[in-house]
Each structure stands twice: as C-alpha cells, then as structure tokens.
Amino acid sequence: MGKVNVDATTIATVWHGMQTICKEMRYIVDRTAQNYLIAQLHDVSVGIWGADGSTIAVPVGLPVQFLGTQFAVQDLIKKFGDDIKPGDLFLTNDPYHGGHNCHLPDWGFFRPIFYEDELLFFTLCRAHQQDTGGAFPGGYFPDGYDIHAEGICIPPVKVHEEGVEQTSILELIWNNVRWPEGTKIDNYAMIGATKMSEKRIIGLLDRYGKDTVMSCVDEMLKRTERAVRKEIRKIPDGTYHGAAATDDDGSVLDVPVWVRVAVTVKGEKMTLDFDGSDPQQKGFINSVYATTYANAIAAVVLCLDPALADYHNQGTMEPITVRTPEESVVNCVYPATTGASPVNVGVQVMEAVLEACSKARPDRSVASWGKHRGDYVFAVDPRTGERYVRTSFDYDGGAGAVWGYDGYQGVSCLTAMGAVNRGDVEEMEARLPWHLIKYEMVTDFTGNGRWRGGPGVHWEALNEGTDGQVSTGSSDGDEVMGFGAVGGGASPQSRTYLVRNGEKIRLKPHRRVVIKNGDIMLKHSSGGGGVGDPAKRDPHMVQEDVENELVSIKEAKSVYKVAINPNTLEVDMAKTKKLRANIRKKNKTKKRSAA
C-alpha cells in the first residue's frame, strides 16, 4: 500500500464518511426489518473492519455484538484465505468454530469489500433474530443440555458466492427456525444494509483514492490510540478491584455466579484480569472470550474522556489487555450454553470493570444500571390463531448515575448502553394479545446518591391470549444488587410476579413456567445505582424529586437529609442544615474512633 501524507481535514472527512455509512446501514434495517427487536428496538449492530480485522468504525450498535468482532474477521480470513471474493457474503451465529459470537440469536452477515481486486474492508450487520431454533422459541431459555439445545449453530459459511445467493444453504438454515418467512425478511434487510455499505465505501475510495483513504484510516487509529494512552496515564498506577454476580445460572438455582476483575494500570497500559471469576457453568450464562472482551472494553470506554466518545476504534483497544481464565464463566469453551450471556454475565463483566474504574477515577464514576427484566412469552394470539413470541425492553428500569448527572430515564440494559429502545403501548396492544394496566416510574425505587439512578419502573399487563409459557430468560437482580459508586446507593432488588386469581406468584429470573389466559404479569424493575453521598445532593434537586413523586418526603429526610414541608413541598432550609450537620458530626466521630 502506497503511503501518502494526509491532512487533518481529509482524515476528518473520511472518518465522518465512514460513521455516516454505519448510521445509514442501521437506517435501512430500521425501515425494512419485520422483527420487533431489530426494527423498533434496535437490537442490531453495524460497522466496518479492516482486512486484518482491525476495528475501524463502530458508532451504532451493542458492544457484545460488535466490539469483539476483530476476532471473527481474523478467523474468517484464516478459514477462507484466497477463497474470499468480491460479491461473497458470509453468515455466522456461532460462539465457537471461529464465529466468536455472543449467543445464537445474533446472526451476523459479513461482506468483504474489494477495490481494484484488493480486499480492503469487511462490513458487518448483526441483529437479534426473532428465533434461532432450539428447544424453545426466542433463544433465551435456561437449562439447555448444551449449545445445540439453544438453536442452530451456523459456523462462518458463504451464503452468497460472487454475488449469487446460495439459496439452498439459506433454505436449510431458515427451515431450522420458527417463523422462517419473517426471518427471511430480516435477513434481506440486513443483507441490503451490507450492500449499501459496500457501495458507499467504494464511493469513498473512488473520490479520495485508495492510498489516501487507507492512510486516513491508519492515522485515525493512531490518533485514537495516542489519546486513549494519554487518558490511561491520567489514572494513578495501581490495581483496582471490582466484582459482580448474577442471581444464578438458570440450572443450579439460587446460587449466585461471580465475575471478578483486577484492573491494573501501569503508565499508559491497562490490564483487565478476570482471574478469580467462577468456573464455566452448566446454565446459559457463559460468555465466550470475544463477548467478555467486548463488554470489558465498553466499560473502560465509558470511563474515558467523553470528548473521545465519537472516535473509538482499534486504537482504543491496543493499550488494553483482557485476560480471562480458560473454562471460566468469562471464557467458556464448546459446548457450553451461552444464551443469556450478552446480559448475564455480560452485565456483570461491565459492572465489575466499572466498579474498579470508578475507584480509579471517581470523577468518571459510572454506577450500575437497573438490571434487565426481560422475558419471552410464547403462546397463540386468538385473534389470528398465529403463534407469537413477545419480548422487549419495555419493562426495564433506568440507567445508573454518573459523576455529575442523575441516571438517564428509560434507557435499558447496561450491555446495550442505551442503543436499544422501548416500544409503544398502542403498538404492543394492537400487535399482541396483551393489555397494559400500568407502565410508570416508581417512587423511592432507585439507587440514591448525590446523583441518583434513573427511576425504576412498574410494568403490569394482562394476558388476553392463550395459555403458554414464559421464560424469564435474562432477567436478573432479584437478589444481587448493582453497585453504587463513591458512596452512592446500590440499585435496589427487582421483582416479577404472575398474578393469578388474585394470588401473587413470585417469578424468579432464569426460570421457565406456564402462563395462563387471564394472568397478570407484574414487574418492578429498579432504577440504577447512585453516585456520591446522598446527603450531599442539592436540596433543590431533592425537592424537585419530591414534587415529581420520585422520592418520598420520608426518604428525602432519612436518606438525603433534606426536610421538606409536606404542605408546601418547600425545602425547610433550617431543618435541613441541622440534619446534615448531624451526619457530619457523626462521620467525624466515626473517623476518630476508626483512627
């Protein structure tokens, strides 16, 4: 490759061009897919990688779906070598066999991009399919025997050869999922996105010339790497610890499974060592290395200077090493089940790293988010007589606080980092035999702090469809609470119930049970963790929360040490001062006695 000197303007332009291409890829999927998760909720990731697998553009997506994709591209090249040709298209969903994927429902289409007969890039569109075969619909059910029980495993295979669709291969695949016709639509939507990406990247190469574009990419990666190294150097050298657990693995019930990490910073390098994490489990919470890697990198990125947020690429990853013990819950081997791993233990990987990083850089603290409260319901819609799967992020809580801001409302699931959206009540009621009873934020149901978590959510709906099954799949957080940072409160415990004939039946995470017509499903999903001492929260912010019924007068006093007049809802400043002075006194005595 010819090296040319490129100026800063061209670099920025090429860079911006590639980011725009990714956004347009998702737009095409949005507009044309039929799967609720993909089209409406954005359970989809797109990006651009180099011919050597280096991560170039990843502006829209979920970390688990694309921050570890360099390993898949590298293995694709190893497996197919010279047999990669223009117009080829690869499909894989396999966590093993060179797929490096998080779990089976996330299918990824890889398209190599050639220019003047030279392989320069890969583009990927990965999205969560409505179904991927296996013992139960939806792919999020516990206690499968092995990975094959979870669905069809597609190793990297060519589904287009030099522009020609390999229909028989696709038909074999589609025949192994429920709702093959819907899946076909979604696959075409995804393939359309990769086609558009190819067209636009070639346009970029035509305009600037290959050497310029490649030099710009090279320079972008270098600049990002330099900036990230500088950021790491700002963290005091040392080792910082974090740990988090999921309630259980779905097979051995009520026994928490732990992820532990030691983050060691030395100069401009950072090592995340997950030694001490629990061994690989029978249940479906095992994470392959690429998934752990993706979540760990994402967590570190959140604690770096937000001014770098638009620039992350391979350069970000170079100074960071992720070590995982073999055959552990953070580096499982075939044929371990992985169904829930994007969420559990994916969330725990991020939480552990965030907890450690928040100790290293309190001013960049990020508290844990409300845990995912997801489920899969499979039954029949009596209006059409058709089978359906219902799932979404509607019933999740909110984000955790960060240093300086309360947690964002309504964004769900830490490992999705707000990339996924919620649905509309009206759309759900029109599409599915479920009637919403209540969907609102809840008082006193989030991690407290100088900055509190986004509020928790109450979600309640009546099953007007047939009897069926519900899998609480990747729900979590009934027992183990998410951490608060720098003295902030933890994200409270969440609960799910089935209300049958007026009786409340507790439904724990990672379970699969029968659901009946007329059952009410009731979910209390907590908000995120807090950051900082709640007694240091601005009293006027507490007052606003009381006005908005997000914090009760009682908790304002007991937790935030703010006295609110119940008649006027004004802050009683004199009383508040007193309340807060008392704690300072107590703290002083505590410190003294500790000394």
């Binding site: 800063a8 359309g192 959206n421 649905g423 029109a430």
Partner: protein, 689 residues
C-alpha cells in the same frame, strides 16, 4: 386602484426579518430589518414601514394595497428551543403518566453511544404536572373504562390554581376513538376557559402514543405564545390598514389562513425554512428540472431538502431540537453549519468546524467583536467576500481581525493562515456535502442526477464548491438567494394534510371503510377551503396510504388513485409500494403480503400565477458588468479574480470561473470548474465545464 395591488411575503428569522414585495408590475423588491425577539410583530411592522417608504407611501396606503400577505415565523421553533413556552400540564390515562419521560428509552440523537456523561431528559411537562385519570379506550376504539369526569374537573381546578397556561389531553388509543379526550377537553374549557387546551387525536389522529403525546405536548407548550402572537399580529395589521388575506407558512410546506392556525401551534414549527423547497421547485421549473436539492445556508444552520419529480419530500419522523414531532413536515435535514460556525481543534488534534456558532454576538471575528475564527472569516481571508460591500456596503468587514483569528488555530495545525482558512472552508463544505449525501441516500437517490438550488446568505458562496465536491453538474442561484424562504412563500400552495389510522392487510381491507375515511377527510378539506372561499373544483386532492410488508415496522407513503375506490386501485397501490421499497432500500419482497397503517389526504389549491421580473438582455461577454479585480484563492492558487457587479449583469452573460459576482445581499462565487450563465430572470446558472 386595482393596479396598485401588492403581494408581500415576510419571513421572521432569528436574526433578520426578510420581506419581499411584489408590485403590480411583478417586480420583486427586498427589505431586511433586525428581528425583535420580544415581540416579533414590532420588527415585522418596521420592515413593512421600510417597504412603504420605498414605495413613497404612508403605511396605511401601502398596507391597503396589499391583497395577500404570506408569513413565516421562527416563533414556534424558538419558543420550543429556548424553553420559553407555556407552563403546561397533561391529563392522561391513569397508569401511563410517564410516556413523555421514558420516551421509549431514546437518548438525544446526536450523542454518541459511548458517552454517558449527559444530563437526564427534561420533558416539556414535568412529572408533577402529568396527571392520570380513570378512563381507557382500546385499540379497537371500544371504551372499556368511561371517563371519570369529576376527577378531570378536580384536576383542572388544581391546574387553574397553580397557574397552568396550557393543557395537553393525551389518552391511549384516542386515534381510534377520541370521545374521552374530547369530553375531557370540554371539561377543561368549562372549568378554566382561559387555559389553552389541545387533544392528541386532534393534533394527529395516528397511533403510537409516545410520538402522538409528545407532538401534542409540544403543541400545548408553544400554543399560547403562537396564539397570542397571531391574534395580536392580525389586530396590528388591521390597524395599519391591511384588509387582505393573511396566510401562515406551515411545517408541511403549505400555507393556511391565520384563523385556522391560532389553535394549531405545532404546525408552525419550521415555518419559514419550510418555504424554501417551494421556491426551489419554482426555479427548477423555469429550467424544466424536476429533481432538485434545495440548500439554505444561513448564519448558524444549514438546511437541505429534496424535491423528486417535482414533489417536495415530507416526513412524519422529525425531531426539532430534542423533541419528537410526528405531524407531517417538510423533510429537512439541519446541520450546524453556517457563516458563523466556529473553528476549533478537537481532542484528537483534528479541525472541527461547527456546530457551535458565533451567531450575531460576538459574530465572526471580521465583524470586529470576536476573536475566534468562523466560516465567514475564512470566506473573507480567501478573498471570496468583499470587505467593503457586505450587505450592500451597510457593514464594513475587518480583514485584519479575520487574519488574526486564523492564527489562533494555525499554530496548532502547523500551517499558515491561508491554509487554515482553506481547511475551514473545505471542512464546512464536506459537513454540508455529507448532510446532502445522507438525505439523498436515505431517500434512495443518486445526488449527481439532481440540480442544486442554493439559498441563504452563505449559500451562493459555497454552492459551487459543494456541487464540485458532489459531482452535481448544475447549480441555480436566484438573485434573491439571501431571502430564499420569503421567496419560497410566493410559490406556495394553499393546503392542509389530513390523516386517519386504518390498520388492515390489503387482502382483507374493507373497501367501503377506507372509502368512507377518505370521504370524511375530503369533506373536512372542502369545509376548510370553503372558509377560504376556494370552490371544490379548484381543490386538488391527493390520496396516499402508508404501507408496509406484513410484519415490518416502518411504512412507506404510497400514492393511491383518486375517485371511487376499488380493490384494483388498492392492489395497484400495493404494487407501487413494492417498487418504491426496492428503490429506497435495494430490495423488494413481492411474495410477501402488504398492509395499510395510515390513510392520508393532501388537499391543496394552486397559488395565484406568479412571475419573476425580467432583466435586460445583453451579450455573452460580461465585461460591461466588471466591477474590479481581487486576489482570491482557488485550489491553493492565488488568482487575480474578476469581480462583477450584480446590478449590471445582463441576461445571456456568460461568466467563466473563477469569478465572483457581488449582489447587495450576497456574493456568488464561481469555482474554476464551472461557468455561470445569467438567465432572463437574473438567476445565476452554474454549469460544470
């Protein structure tokens, strides 16, 4: 005095109030005044007084001659963006008071996935003022829980006491049956007649509650300010002798009588910019071109929209600031790119231009107050704009200040001031070009087949370079480019959009039900137009239906044939949908069934005939208009560039690039790769060599 009749278009922007007057001879005269943010009607009347003086009339005589006044205003948009709307409350279905706040988990669209350090969402209506009441309507339209009227009355009484100025009534599934919303609104009016009340089904009768509720909340939030302004303006215009028709420019690119707008504030968002595409379509028509991309580059922002096959693109998926608006609006993409866009070096050492703007205060460095380099400073340093003829010489620009401002970043970039200015210039052009590419790809078009129509104060300076970058062969720059939106208002159709949710598969759709819904919308349209004095035969109706393949989530608006609806017409619509799908998204699925989600009707009446004034013909050689020569930079070369006087050019003049034409309100820059031809209406038509 029939012969003295005038038509006036007024666009009140953030900084300037633009006014174009067309007199009986068809001549356009332009006027500009500063906008008066406290009461924009002050600035508006100032501008009209300026115009009257120019016609040597007193304001009463002048206004008495005006038969039609079309008005675009940034009032609704500004009220929303600056957070100065009414103290608003919401009455909603019990158990669902947080739809606005949870807002489907959407973070601000321009914030990176990897940045969590942002303030939480602050809804226009805080939680303490969003109150649920007992009521429930189902998606079938059936009312499963009747409205608890006592509860509503109590809530409104409380709102009244706490000084609420506007109420949004937002119930689930009201698009299917608006009874409960209507009743609640009536109670609001009974209990508190002074409070502004809107309902969600009257704002937009389409499903998906977050989108509908948020649009309604925005309408309630800007509504009182809009209503106050419009009522006040009407009175002031009447006092000044105006007896003609006052039409407001709406978000959807159509105009509407003012009395129809008083209670529909949300439709006045983007009023102003929404007029630009109509102007572009008109100019394209002069050249027989129907595929156009209209750009408007002002001081702080850049707006772009597409016109395909003569049709101005609209969308129901807009965001204005951080607010989702679901009414049909002109499909405008906006970028923070304008003359005031500020240049800086970012965290990776890369040049960043915009979206921050130096705005009017301190303004670009060359205005004399600021020190930070802006796009206008780069334009000046590169020699494109004159220091002595800015706004026709009203304002002197300071070249030294502009040069000095470059130094603040040229050191970090390690280049001289000229290269810095060039980098700023190129950088803002690529930002605008990417915006154009993004909107055209979204729409499935190849931008090279389009004609670029450039407006705004900065458009004529940058358009040639944008076209060069995007391989666009033809650029049209009208002489009134700087008052582009006001100009567009001359070209506007009178009209309104109507919509009804109707969810069914094509195969099982009930033809009679659909026909009835269209009929319902059509009679509504006829009624509305009757108020305007437009008779049925002058109304153009266009039926469309939002369709998608069964199972998809997003629809494509597809035209349906007018007249008696038949199965055949519906099927033809479904086929047209498949074709559109293929064009937009690279594939179609004819094997898959199609369903309808929303029926739409656009009713419009043609504008009165309108002509641009003609200029005298001259020779191809433009030397008679040569004003001077100035050093300017083209592609890194310093060239002695001919500068022409816009007042002296003649139809038929051919001006090869590089060249500059100075108009009193803007400067046209012709790059080396283009030649400019002046047409009979003094449009500058740049063609690639």
């Amino acid at each position: 005095m029939e012969s003295a009749k005038k038509r006036v278009c007024l666009d009140v922007g953030g900084t300037f109030t633009d006014c174009l007057v067309m007199d009986a001879s068809g001549d356009l005269t332009s006027f500009k005044s500063a906008t008066t943010p406290n009461d924009p009607s002050d600035g508006l009347l100032d501008t009209l007084k300026k115009a009257a003086a120019n016609f040597q009339q007193d304001i009463k005589d002048f206004m008495g001659d005006v038969e039609l006044l079309v008005h675009g205003t940034t009032l609704a948009t500004n009220t929303l963006i600056t957070g100065k709307g009414a103290k608003t409350a919401m009455i909603t279905t019990e158990g669902f008071r947080d739809i606005l706040e949870i807002r489907r988990g959407i973070k601000p669209l321009d914030i990176s996935l990897f940045n969590l350090f942002i303030p939480p969402n602050r809804p226009l209506i805080p939680r303490s003022r969003r109150i649920g009441v007992e009521e429930r309507t189902l998606f079938t339209g059936e009312i499963s829980v009747p409205l608890n009227e006592n509860e509503v009355a109590k809530i409104v009484t409380r709102f009244k006491k706490s000084g609420i100025e506007a109420i949004a009534v937002c119930f689930l599934h009201s698009y299917a049956n608006g009874t409960n919303e209507r009743r609640a609104a009536d109670i609001c009016k009974e209990v508190a007649p002074d409070i502004y009340v809107t309902t969600s089904h009257e704002t937009i009768q389409v499903w998906r509650e977050f989108e509908r509720f948020n649009t309604t909340a925005v309408g309630a939030y800007v509504g009182p300010a809009v209503a106050r302004y419009l009522v006040g303006l009407e009175a002031r215009l009447k006092d000044s002798g105006f007896e003609g028709t006052l039409l407001m420019m709406l978000a959807n690119g159509l105009v509407q009588r003012v009395d129809q707008c008083v209670n529909r504030g949300v439709h006045l968002l983007n009023s102003g910019p929404a007029a630009a595409p109509a102007g572009a379509a008109y100019l394209g028509g002069l050249l027989g071109k129907k595929d156009l991309v209209a750009v408007d580059m002002g001081g702080t922002s850049f707006e772009v929209c597409m016109i395909h096959n003569g049709e101005i693109m609209t969308t129901t998926e807009s965001w204005v600031g951080d607010q989702r608006i679901a009414i049909k609006m002109i499909d405008l993409e906006t970028a923070g790119a304008g003359g005031g866009s500020v240049a800086s070096i970012d965290s990776l050492g890369l040049l960043k231009v915009g979206p921050e703007s130096a705005a009017a205060d301190p303004g670009p460095a060359c205005y004399g107050k600021g020190k930070i380099p802006t796009v206008t400073d780069a334009d000046l340093v590169l020699g494109y704009i004159p220091d002595d003829y800015f706004l026709g010489g009203e304002m002197k620009l300071d070249v030294d200040h502009a040069n000095n401002s470059m130094k603040s970043i040229s050191k970090k970039m390690g280049v001289d001031k000229i290269k810095t200015a060039q980098a700023i210039f190129d950088s803002i052009n690529t930002t605008m070009a990417d915006e154009i590419t993004a909107i055209s790809t979204k729409r499935g078009h190849d931008i090279r087949e389009f004609v670029l129509v450039a407006g705004g104060g900065g458009g004529p300076i940058h358009a040639g370079f944008l076209a060069d970058y995007l391989d666009i062969p033809t650029v049209i720059i009208p002489p009134v480019a700087a008052l582009f939106s006001a100009f567009g208002m001359f070209a506007m159709d009178l009209g309104q959009d109507f919509a009804r949710s109707y969810i069914a598969r094509i195969e099982s759709a009930n033809i009679r039900d659909i026909a009835n819904l269209y009929k319902e919308m059509e009679s509504e349209a006829f009624e509305t137009f009757a108020v305007h004095g437009v008779s049925k035969k002058d109304i153009t109706l266009q039926r469309t239906a939002d369709m998608r393949y069964i199972g998809q989530f997003m629809e494509v608006e597809t035209e349906l044939q007018n007249g008696t609806l038949t199965k055949k017409i519906l099927h033809a619509g479904a086929e047209a949908f498949s074709k559109k799908h293929e064009a937009l998204y690279t594939f179609s699925m004819p094997w898959k069934g199609v369903e309808i989600l929303t029926l739409r009707l656009k009713a419009s009446a043609d504008k009165a005939p309108f002509h641009l004034p003609k200029i005298k013909r001259g020779k191809a050689n433009p030397s008679a208009a040569l004003k001077r020569k100035r050093m300017a930079w083209f592609q890194g070369k310093r060239l002695k560039t001919p500068v022409y006087d816009g007042a002296l050019v003649r139809a038929g003049n051919k001006i090869p690039g590089p060249a500059i034409i100075e108009e009193s309100t803007t400067t046209v820059v012709i790059p080396e790769s283009y030649t400019c031809r002046v047409d009979g209406h003094k449009n500058y038509i740049l063609t690639r060599n």
